[in-house]
């Protein structure tokens, strides 16, 4: 079998988990990035492309790991070049961008897989399976938490670029809520951003939290809390899912399978700590690679990516207006409303 050729765009934080996953699948990676490409390539033995054109010419599948505002142009360019695409979440900065990507991909007849990696975290997969088996009965109330040290780069905190914590971080749990409890009919959100003493005056506030409340078509209600905390805050996620026949919960901070007490340098990564199990990023990228070859359906689809951006958009609108925002698939796809 010929070696899978991956064109990686970007060399930032998330590539540290994407690259090992692709390499584990035996892929050859070429990286193109406005900065950091040489260093990443040196560390992992990758090739470097000097332009997007060169990258597209060298690969079968494009992996977009760049800041959110560039996703649309890169994804559209990749699709037009006939490439399949893995695109980090959020798919685009807005639903409009997401729909542009979807149209370009569908016109090109290629595939795009949005990186909603939480669907590949074992605890969340186990919850999904238990729910689908009916072990909780009808879902009623769901809670999700995701928090830790805020990201280092300032663009994350600039809502006009990233959509802020809701579009960048909480989109994981917006997708989870929809995955576990189904389509959403209304969205309410509040956000609080505070300037910490060490934040430079010209930078955006770096202590950020938002709460999003979703009402699902089934009648279930979901709450999502996101936190970008101080650099010392450990990354942690949790959920509690209650149905009329039972309730399940998980807290990543309470995983007791390995308990270490050693003198170590504190890790400064905002990424999830290494797990004893397979990297969920590898599980995800393998799923995408298999789906691309037609071996299976991917667990997350382009449409899921569009809907997640739609939920983030609605939440941002609610933060801005202070009102509850109605939500439906039709409101995301106005052209199909007819």
């Amino acid at each position: 079998m010929t070696q899978l050729r991956v064109g990686l765009v970007g060399a930032g934080g998330i590539t540290r988990v994407h690259v090992p996953a692709w390499l584990a699948l035996g892929a050859h990676i070429t990286v193109y990035s406005v900065e950091g490409a040489e260093e990443l390539a040196r560390r992992h033995g990758l090739s470097v492309a000097d332009s997007m054109e060169e990258l597209l010419a060298s690969c079968d599948i494009v992996d977009i790991c760049t800041p959110t505002t560039t996703h649309r142009d890169l994804a559209v360019a990749a699709a037009q070049a006939g490439k399949d695409v893995v695109c980090e979440k959020p798919l685009g900065r807005s639903v409009a961008e997401g729909l542009e990507i979807k149209e370009a991909v569908s016109r090109a007849g290629t595939q795009l897989y949005p990186g909603h990696v939480v669907r590949y975290f074992p605890a969340y997969m186990a919850a999904k399976e238990a729910i689908d088996q009916g072990r909780l009965g009808a879902l009623a109330v769901l809670r999700f938490y995701r928090g830790g040290a805020g990201p280092k780069s300032d663009w994350f905190y600039d809502e006009s670029v990233s959509g802020g914590i809701i579009a960048d971080q909480m989109i994981h749990d917006l997708d989870q809520a929809r995955w576990l409890a189904g389509e959403v009919t209304s969205v309410y959100a509040v956000q609080n951003a505070v300037r910490s003493p060490e934040t430079p005056a010209e930078a955006h506030p770096r202590r950020v939290s938002a709460h999003v409340t979703l009402t699902h078509k089934s009648g279930a209600i979901s709450h999502i809390q996101g936190v970008w905390g101080p650099p010392t805050m450990p990354f942690r996620t949790s959920f509690h899912v209650a149905g009329d026949a039972g309730a399940l919960s998980h807290d990543s901070g309470a995983d007791a399978s390995l308990d270490k007490d050693l003198v170590l340098d504190a890790t400064e990564s905002y990424l999830p700590p290494p797990d004893l199990l397979e990297s969920p990023f590898l599980t995800e990228i393998r799923d995408f690679a298999n789906a691309r070859l037609g071996r299976s359906e991917s667990r997350v689809t382009l449409e899921d990516g569009v809907m997640a951006v739609g939920l983030a958009d609605a939440a941002l609108e609610s933060v801005a207006t202070g009102m509850v925002v109605p939500f439906s698939e039709a409101s995301i796809h106005p052209a199909e409303r007819v």
Binding site: A138, V141, V190, V194, P197, R207, I221, H223, V227, D244
Partner: protein, 341 residues
């Protein structure tokens, strides 16, 4: 030489409608500085399996009278009101008139007008009104409060509170809108709301709530059984309370209360009911709580405030503020939009 007995306080427990009455009866009966009398005239009309009224008092070995009038003519120094929520106000008025200090089960009332009338009555009578929020006295909460007050947590940004429990089935009135004033939103928002009232010292600017009746749907409840209430405070803090009766009936314990507080310098999570032995007994999964009894600490505050001649906390004003959050949450559910306070 034996020390002379402490001056005895006469305390009357009015009604056994609330399940906490059993705890108060036990705690007070065990104290040698309290003389206890009980009355539960409405118990005979309750549809529950019981016991209520004289049977309940006899089971606990405490003195009992058939009417509230007899209880008031006993001239109690204080009363503890454990009636159905909608009957709190009337008993507060009568107790104030009788010159008794009052500890009232939460919520203070089922509507704001009643709560304000109750506060006015106790103010006019010059008696104390304390609202039963025992979690305030938990060591975990006190530590959280001190971490916020000392600045160790920095500026508070965001809070999630949970007060999930079994559906209260031992007393039918909890799910009767007429007596309870609502369902899970009434029963399980106020504890967390009171902690936040005390912790943040800021008033609520906006309230949003959603609710449903999916949990325990088979019982066809007349009230909501699940709910999520989000509050925005004047100081910018955002907080959400999950008040759902979502503790499964198969769970070995009633439920609990948690508060996760995030500040600019980190986060603190408390779970005052977490101390327990876990394991298995003849019934399967076991949950054996240990540690301080919060009702006992709360009663100590109520009693010592009388002995010391000071106002106990949480007071009626706090009871009113937490009730206002519940009413705003109910209005938000009805309108589908947030409510500005």
């Amino acid at each position: 030489m034996a020390t002379p007995p402490a001056p005895s306080l006469k305390i009357a427990i009015l009604s056994f409608a609330h399940t906490h009455a059993a705890s108060y009866v036990r705690q007070l009966a065990a104290r040698d500085d309290v003389e206890l009398l009980t009355s539960d005239p409405d118990g005979q009309f309750a549809t529950d399996a019981g016991p209520r009224g004289a049977d309940f008092a006899a089971a606990h070995g405490v003195a009992y009278v058939d009417t509230y009038a007899e209880a008031f003519s006993w001239k109690p120094d204080a009363v503890i009101i454990c009636s159905e929520n909608s009957r709190h106000t009337d008993l507060i008025m009568r107790s104030a008139e009788a010159g008794a200090h009052i500890l009232c089960e939460k919520p203070l009332a089922t509507n704001e007008a009643d709560a304000k009338a109750a506060i006015a009555a106790v103010d006019a009578a010059g008696v104390n009104l304390m609202v039963a929020y025992p979690v305030r006295f938990s060591p975990a909460y006190r530590e959280l409060k001190s971490l916020v007050s000392s600045g160790a947590l920095g500026e508070v940004i965001s809070v999630v509170g949970t007060n999930n429990g079994w559906l209260p089935t031992r007393r039918a009135w909890f799910t009767d809108p007429e007596f309870a004033g609502g369902g899970a939103l009434v029963d399980h928002v106020v504890h967390c709301a009171d902690l936040l009232d005390h912790l943040l010292g800021s008033s609520v600017r906006r309230v949003h709530a959603v609710s449903n009746r999916i949990l325990h749907a088979a019982r066809k409840p007349d009230v909501e059984t699940g709910g999520l209430v989000t509050m925005t405070y004047e100081n910018g803090v955002i907080a959400t309370i999950d008040c759902s009766w979502s503790q499964p009936e198969t769970a070995p314990n009633w439920g609990g209360l948690t508060l996760a507080v995030t500040g600019t310098k980190g986060s603190v999570r408390i779970n005052p009911f977490a101390t327990h032995l876990g394991g298995f007994d003849v019934n399967g999964a076991a949950w054996i709580p240990y540690g301080v009894d919060l009702d006992s600490l709360m009663l100590e505050e109520f009693i010592s405030s009388m002995v010391d001649g000071r106002v106990p906390l949480p007071d009626g004003d706090g009871g009113l503020r937490t009730l206002q959050i519940v009413k705003a949450a109910q209005e938000s559910v009805a309108t589908g939009q947030p409510v500005h306070c």
